[in-house]
């Protein structure tokens, strides 16, 4: 089995899964019957957000963002193993751990990966809906200067 073409790459999975209600993600992760070992402890804390100012290119910190992260190894009954990870702008370390489990399962196509893929696809749909709203904000407020110019000429 393969993922459909156009399926989002791994570096988007965390963000897309985080779009969904968290209990849906958690129950999907716990439904997978794997042994989960924390490679580093799931943590929640803060991250400094580093920007380069676009005027002169000086680096500076805009402020802090919540960060939750997890790095796990999952092992099936048959001995198959895979590593998964998640980092979120969020403060729920357990949610990050659940996403890390799904990340491992999906990346290695371990048994049950289809459920994870389905969730990622759902997250992508939610994301697309959000992007559409933003495009509408732009499309309805686009200033048409060529029209203004013609009026001025008349």
């Amino acid at each position: 089995m393969n993922l459909p073409s156009g399926f989002p790459p791994r570096n988007l999975w965390s963000a897309l899964l985080a779009q969904l209600p968290s209990d849906q993600v958690r129950s999907a992760a716990s439904a997978l019957d794997y042994e989960v070992v924390d490679i580093t402890l799931p943590q929640s804390g803060l991250g400094l957000m580093h920007l380069h100012d676009s005027a002169l290119n000086d680096g500076f910190y805009l402020g802090e963002i919540p960060v939750a992260r997890a790095h796990v190894r999952v092992r099936c009954v048959d001995g198959q193993e895979a590593e998964g990870g998640a980092v979120l702008v969020d403060d729920r370390a357990r949610l990050a751990r659940a996403i890390a489990v799904l990340d491992a399962v999906l990346a290695a196509r371990l048994p049950g990966w289809e459920a994870a893929a389905k969730l990622v696809a759902q997250g992508q749909a939610a994301q697309e809906q959000r992007a559409q709203t933003r495009r509408a904000l732009l499309a309805r407020t686009h200033v048409d200067f060529s029209l203004l110019g013609q009026e001025e000429d008349e």
């Binding site: 963000a15 676009s54 402020g63 990870g85």
Partner: protein, 372 residues
């Protein structure tokens, strides 16, 4: 009696908390505020709190607004205190605002900016007439607003992100060149501000400054205590995707997005002392959330401070120490509030000094009176 005022403090403190909560509830017919409503319908208030609190956490900001009954200073303060309990896990690599998923983008320097101008959600051209239609909104109509908006939106092939206006000006040689990337920036949450401080410290301080304080000092520069005379090259609002390395692959992955406002102003040109080609000068403002007045004020002050740092300050808005030590809302409100605390001992001491001094000068005055 003085003693009565400070004795029994414990009961009074508990009573004050209950009294505050009672007024929050109002009456038994009141409905509690739902946090989703605060986050959505009071989004500009949430924006102030996340930026002044220095922590991009709109959900906790909404909670703080509810808990502190709409006081932005108190709400920002609660976010700051929350920060003190959390370990610093990481520092992001530099994020790129050119990837911002824009919802608003304007320029007052050019009308025809590459990608076009999009007003987005703004009150700039709104008539400040009270809309009596909002007094008693029908929930069904309210819910239909978003649906109708999306249905009326024209199909568009607009991209999510846009090039920066400054890049075009830079390509024409009108702007100073970009500086080479330096080391780790100044971290105002860890390093005390000991002057002189680098520009990174000024930008970080202003990014979490109190909006009104920043505006007031920037306004002094606009009105004449300064000469920045800015033109807004670009003002943009949107969501910046935050990229961090994936724990397994190490590849950059998107971990979420942050709503922010960014403003670049172009100011009077100057040449350097070596007689090189003169270019425009620039100011930069940015903050969490949607807060245009703050981003513009910061951009003006950034330019004013750059001038003060190189040529010496001739106005308050050009003096880094004056500006940066007085714009923090949490610091300044704490100081103003602390005057409400008991000062019985120091006042007793003040009275002692005044009486002693009065006795000395009073004896002189009494003698003068006697002689009249």
């Amino acid at each position: 009696m003085g003693y009565v005022a400070i004795k029994g403090g414990k009961a009074a403190i508990e009573g004050a908390a209950a009294a505050t909560d009672m007024l929050r509830a109002g009456s038994e017919y009141a409905e509690p505020l739902v946090l989703d409503a605060i986050e959505g319908q009071l989004r500009l208030l949430v924006s102030r709190v996340v930026s002044e609190g220095g922590l991009y956490h709109p959900k906790l900001a909404a909670l703080a607004i509810k808990q502190f009954q709409g006081d932005t200073l108190e709400a920002a303060f609660a976010l700051r205190a929350y920060r003190s309990t959390k370990p610093r896990l990481l520092e992001t690599p530099p994020q790129n605002t050119a990837h911002m998923r824009v919802i608003r983008r304007i320029s007052s320097a050019f009308k025809d900016i590459p990608g076009g101008q999009m007003l987005g959600p703004t009150y700039d051209y709104a008539l400040r007439l009270l809309d009596l239609g909002l007094v008693d909104e029908n929930p069904e109509d309210f819910r239909a607003i978003a649906r109708r908006f999306l249905a009326d939106a024209p199909d568009s092939e607009l991209p999510d992100s846009f090039p920066k206006v400054l890049d075009a000006l830079r390509a024409e040689g009108l702007l100073p060149p970009l500086k080479p990337v330096a080391g780790a920036p100044f971290d105002i949450t860890r390093q005390p501000l000991i002057f002189p401080v680098p520009r990174a410290a000024a930008l970080a301080t202003m990014a979490r400054a109190e909006t009104g304080s920043l505006l007031a000092i920037a306004y002094s520069n606009m009105r004449g205590y300064g000469d920045v005379h800015p033109t807004i090259a670009e003002l943009r609002v949107g969501y910046v995707p935050v990229m961090l390395p994936h724990p397994v692959t190490g590849e950059p992955m998107e971990v979420g997005e942050v709503l922010m406002t960014e403003c670049e102003v172009v100011a009077m040109f100057e040449g350097d002392e070596h007689g090189s080609r003169p270019t425009f000068t620039l100011g930069y403002g940015a903050c969490f959330g949607h807060n245009e007045v703050k981003a513009i004020s910061m951009a003006i002050l950034d330019r004013a401070l750059q001038k003060g740092m190189t040529d010496g300050a001739t106005n308050p808005s050009e003096d880094p120490e004056f500006v940066l030590l007085h714009v923090d809302g949490v610091d300044s409100m704490g100081f103003a509030s602390h005057y409400k605390m008991p000062h019985y001992v120091t006042f007793q001491s003040d009275m002692d000094r005044l009486r002693t001094t009065q006795t000395k000068t009073g004896n002189d005055t009494a003698r003068q009176k006697d002689s009249v």
